[in-house]
Amino acid sequence: MKRYIDEKTVSSLARGAMYLGSGGGGDVKLMELMAKRIIKENGPIPLISPFRFPDEEWVIPVAVMGSPTIFSERLPSGNELKKVVETIEKEKNIAASAITGIEIGGMNAISPVIAAALTNLPLLDADGMGRAFPELQMTTYHGFGMKASPAVISNRPDKTYLLSSDENTEIEKQARKLVTDLGGWAAIACYPMQGWQMREAGILQTYTLTIRLGEALSADAMDAHDVMEKMQKVFQKSIYGKPVKLIEGKIVDLQRNIIEGMLKGSLVVEGSGSYIGEYLSVFFHNEYLWIKKNDTTLATVPDLICVLDEETGYPLSVEELENHVKVWVIAIPGPFLLQTTKMLDVVGPMQFGIAENFIPIEERLKLNGNEG
């Protein structure tokens, strides 16, 4: 069955992607507007299964990197995402057969849809993070041995920048610096792969899952309770695990600082209802990374952490947090691929300065004798 992404699917994708942002990943609204406009003009985009993609054909992952705030002010010209794909094709002397994702959490769930529409290519149903992460090498593509190089960056209609290095972390460094010089955000294409590589290194079918999540959450007038129920249904039958509620209550303390360009800090939730008397700390570093209750760790990256607005069930980003808001803190077990040793070396708690070994949330709950 051939599936397509139309305007309505974009809305569902956008809604679902907010939850996978784990507090980061940027605001999806602008991307959603742009994608809808292009689909209206160019027609729906075929979404193809990674299992039916020929071994030797090429797929190019894309994203937008930089500051979401600047992106919301200095809007794109329109064909940046097309330029970066075409430049990689030229550089490698290949013809891409599909576009795919790098980061399914937040706004970058939608940038590949826009790239696919602009290049007239189908979208391959996969990404390299299964959520949002702050750096280019924090992908399964990197973890499973793919080269980010050649990477191409652009935020002008007439100019692209080629980055090459054997070290993916070096590409991240160069890209980050260039993005700043270019005005704060840019489109990027990197990790060009063939079908067989993609199947080895990608987190597969995350678009289908995210769209399903968005569709399940599309009804109006929901609260955190409804959202949680729907999420549990969708995630139970997926490569992720069943989401777990850790507390409901009010944000009573909020610390935010920028350290080396990263938004770092923590929030404290004071429990209410059946959680009365409990306090939970959530630490973030652009995304939510670590939940502690007193001295006990309840969850860590790469498992996903969401802070839901109690009234609307919407996931609050790190930038949207405010004192006094009533929230639910939940954790979603990450895809198995992120829990492998290779990936924990890239996105494990240690990589974010948390002196803890990764233990999946399900096991931690059993250890703590707290069945949520």
Binding site: M65, T69, P76, S77
Partner: protein, 519 residues
């Protein structure tokens, strides 16, 4: 002794007060809000002056919080003929102006829409030099066809140069009669939202002008030559010239006025304010004498803007709220209300509708109308209804509180007799004098303010020095707006770090406010 008038237009009532220079209330009045808004304002104004008996030449200031502009946008009526100019190409072309604006409103605004080369980066560099020739072509094209122009340049909160230059060109070609709205004076970072707000502003310039002139003339007809100010949504004032230029800032000043009025009346600067009207109860949070603002994007007439509005929760409980008792003894409270018809519909006034007011009168908790008319009602049932009413408010209070600790609660609004002297979550419940017209008092005592919102690289000067610089800029703005320098205080300061940028870039927002200069 000199005097001032404060008028606030609400959904149900238009309230007016007359204060002396020590802010003592000399007279107060309430009249029904009229469909055209102005008639109600004039009536309230005449009543409050008549009741006061003060010499008319001694009335020096008149402060007006009005809903003219909100109504015009919501009704899509009396809007200006607008041209929309965005400066930012080749960036921004992917999303055209007015995207996401409801169709029926867009059809009023989309006739003359342009995107011009220019704009700035976040650090102040030019994206492209401003395309001056294109602006001249546009100016000649729209000449005689529009009476209001909205200009929005990329990162104008960082550098306003291109907006100012564009305004100069438009003015040169179209003459001084055209209204020009510049986005850097209206909104903050977030191009589409700021652009929307600027376009809405351009669309209500005429409405504001008519409202202001009407009010000034009505004052003159009463023999009053007062300086007129308009209330803004942040609880501070702007003079008429500024209000006519930036009318969108008058949107939603009502709730702010009532919170500020409550603060003044109770002499508290940190508290919860519960404003019980005829139809709803609004609960806001007072921090350092100003309302806590909401961080959510605000929609006006279906258009997403980046205005900050008071953070309010509104529940369907007011003096006129209709109570329905069912056969089985169960009951519902509202959410509908008899509104301003309470004096004819309410049972204690001889009407046939059981309202929230009737419930408290029957239980002996308030003396309004004729208690005999509700004496026959089942007290036990009424008690249950009353408990639920109080619970509704207590739940809302809990929602707005910053922590579990109890806080002082100030009760204002005509319907506040509904509520008891003890509320869960309240350390004390205060009912100030003149609670019924707290909103008009809020309008009358409002301060003038200056605000700065920009992206700063904190590494250049360091955080402390940057904030000092921003404070100074805000204070200068406040002085320019007419504040007495000796009274100016920083009332709000926020620095939000921007992720993924070097140099520790942060969005800094500072607001300074002070009392009007005597001159």
């Amino acid at each position: 002794m000199s005097y001032r008038i404060g008028i606030d237009v609400g959904g149900t009532h238009t309230d007016a007060v007359l204060l002396d220079e020590k802010y003592q209330v000399i007279s107060e009045t309430k009249t029904p809000t009229t469909a055209d808004v102005s008639t109600g304002i004039y009536k309230a104004m005449r009543e409050v002056i008549g009741k006061s008996g003060v010499p008319r030449e001694k009335i020096r200031y008149a402060m007006l919080g009005t809903t003219h502009c909100t109504n015009a946008i919501v009704e899509r009526k009396r809007l200006n003929k607008v041209a929309v100019i965005r400066i930012g190409a080749p960036a921004t072309l992917a999303v055209k102006p007015l995207v996401g604006v409801p169709d029926d409103l867009r059809s009023h605004l989309e006739k003359y829409v342009y995107i011009v080369r220019g704009g700035h980066e976040f650090d102040g560099r030019e994206i492209a030099p401003l395309d001056v020739e294109h602006l001249y072509r546009i100016a000649n094209e729209i000449k005689g066809k529009v009476d209001s122009v909205a200009i929005t340049s990329v990162f104008s909160p960082v550098s306003k140069d291109h907006e100012l230059k564009a305004a100069e060109i438009i003015r040169e070609v179209l003459g001084s009669g055209v209204a020009i709205s510049l986005s850097h004076e209206i909104g903050s970072i977030g191009l589409l939202e700021r652009e929307n707000a600027t376009i809405l502003n351009a669309a209500v310039v005429n409405v504001a002008k008519t409202a202001a002139e009407g009010f000034i003339n009505a004052l003159k007809a009463e023999g009053i030559n007062a300086k007129v100010f308009f209330g803004q949504n942040d609880g501070t004032l702007m003079n008429v010239e500024y209000a006519i230029k930036y009318p969108i800032l008058t949107i939603s000043c009502g709730p702010t006025n009532s919170i500020r009025g409550a603060s003044y009346l109770a002499q508290l600067s940190n508290a919860l304010v519960v404003d019980v009207g005829g139809t709803t109860t609004d609960i806001g949070v007072l921090i350092h004498s100003f309302p806590r603002e909401s961080s959510l994007a605000v929609e006006i007439g279906g258009v997403r803007t980046n205005f900050r509005m008071p953070d309010l929760v509104s529940i369907g409980l007011g003096g006129g709220t209709i109570i329905r008792i069912h056969q089985d003894g169960s009951f519902t409270i509202g959410p509908d209300s008899v509104g301003y018809k309470l004096p004819e519909k309410g049972m204690v006034f001889g009407g046939d509708t059981l309202t929230a007011t009737d419930v408290v009168v029957a239980l002996g908790k308030a003396k309004i109308g004729d208690p005999q008319k509700v004496a026959h009602l089942d007290k036990e049932l009424l008690n249950r209804i009353y408990h639920q009413m109080v619970e509704m408010v207590e739940e809302a209070i809990d929602k707005m509180k910053t922590s579990a600790d109890p806080v002082p609660v100030i009760l204002v609004g005509g319907g506040s007799v509904l509520l008891p002297d003890k509320l869960k979550g309240a350390s004390k419940v205060i009912r100030p004098d003149h609670f019924g017209v707290a909103n008009a008092i809020g309008a009358a005592i409002a301060q003038v303010s200056g605000q700065v919102e920009r992206v700063f690289a904190l590494d250049e000067l360091g955080r402390e020095k940057t904030l000092e610089l921003a404070k100074k800029m805000a204070i200068d703005e406040a002085i320019k707006a007419g504040a007495n320098p000796e009274t100016i205080e920083i009332v709000d300061m926020e620095d939000v770090p921007l992720a993924y940028l070097p140099g520790n870039a942060a969005r800094v927002r500072v607001k300074a406010a002070g009392v009007l200069s005597a001159s």
